[in-house]
């Protein structure tokens, strides 16, 4: 009986903590793959790939700034000063829901920045993204986030 309770507990834990991905599996897989690639682009300072992750008319909402519109302006937002690098970047989506040619996605992000003097700082936060399917590719249309305090 104790074993059964334990198995039930394990099952419920998994159910509660599991992510929630709703919609066509192919679309979900494309978005999950894009999310992984985005972190790789950030860690390798590949600004062209970062730009291509967004629609041409995308909007990003960085804290304390106006809404930044368009791929070129978004690339300039992401561009780090010489010698600064995002050495770690990870996005953990909690829920993705495909709504035909659009999707929403929310979850957590975390990362570590290494400055030119070798010092490092880590940060984490939460985000909401609106995706758009354009020519069979999922691109970020709206991207808003803010921090979680340690």
């Amino acid at each position: 009986m104790k074993a059964l309770t334990f198995i039930l507990f394990l099952f419920l834990s998994c159910t509660i903590s599991s992510q929630n991905y709703l919609g066509d599996q192919e679309d979900i897989d494309m978005i999950l793959s894009n999310i992984k690639d985005f972190s790789i682009s950030v860690m390798s300072s590949d600004y062209q790939s970062i730009g291509m992750a967004y629609t041409v008319d995308a909007k990003i909402f960085p804290n304390n700034m106006e809404i930044i519109q368009g791929r070129e302006a978004i690339i300039e937002y992401w561009r780090l000063p010489e010698g600064v690098q995002t050495k770690y970047h990870k996005i953990t989506p909690e829920e993705i829901k495909i709504l035909d040619k659009e999707a929403y996605d929310y979850g957590y992000y975390e990362g570590t920045t290494r400055r030119s003097d070798g010092s490092e700082s880590s940060w984490k936060g939460k985000y909401v993204i609106i995706w758009r399917k354009i020519n069979q590719e999922w691109k970020i249309y709206l991207d808003i986030w803010n921090r979680i305090k340690d």
Copy 2:
């Protein structure tokens, strides 16, 4: 010719600056009405109405905090200390797009807080909301925002 150019300029200005509301007009009007009502609820510290603006499983994403889930927890987030009041609150949606039973909406918010000592502070920011249509009513499912610096 000059007059024609001017008229064309006026027309383009209007087109460019106009908000972008896409979808069934009845749905758009319901969401616009909810947005106005939300500000009224905030200004009158009507926490039950604020709570009812959200789905029971809604998530809000305040800056520097964890994601807050569920109507009751959301009401507690919005509850102001005794003597503090939001004397002004306005939401200006830039774009609303209905996607059947869900919708996304982004735009700007602004407000003024009056503290118990009579001092006031004004603030503004930007937001993204995911709406859900439940029993013919549009409710907020995801609500994320951050500030714009003066």
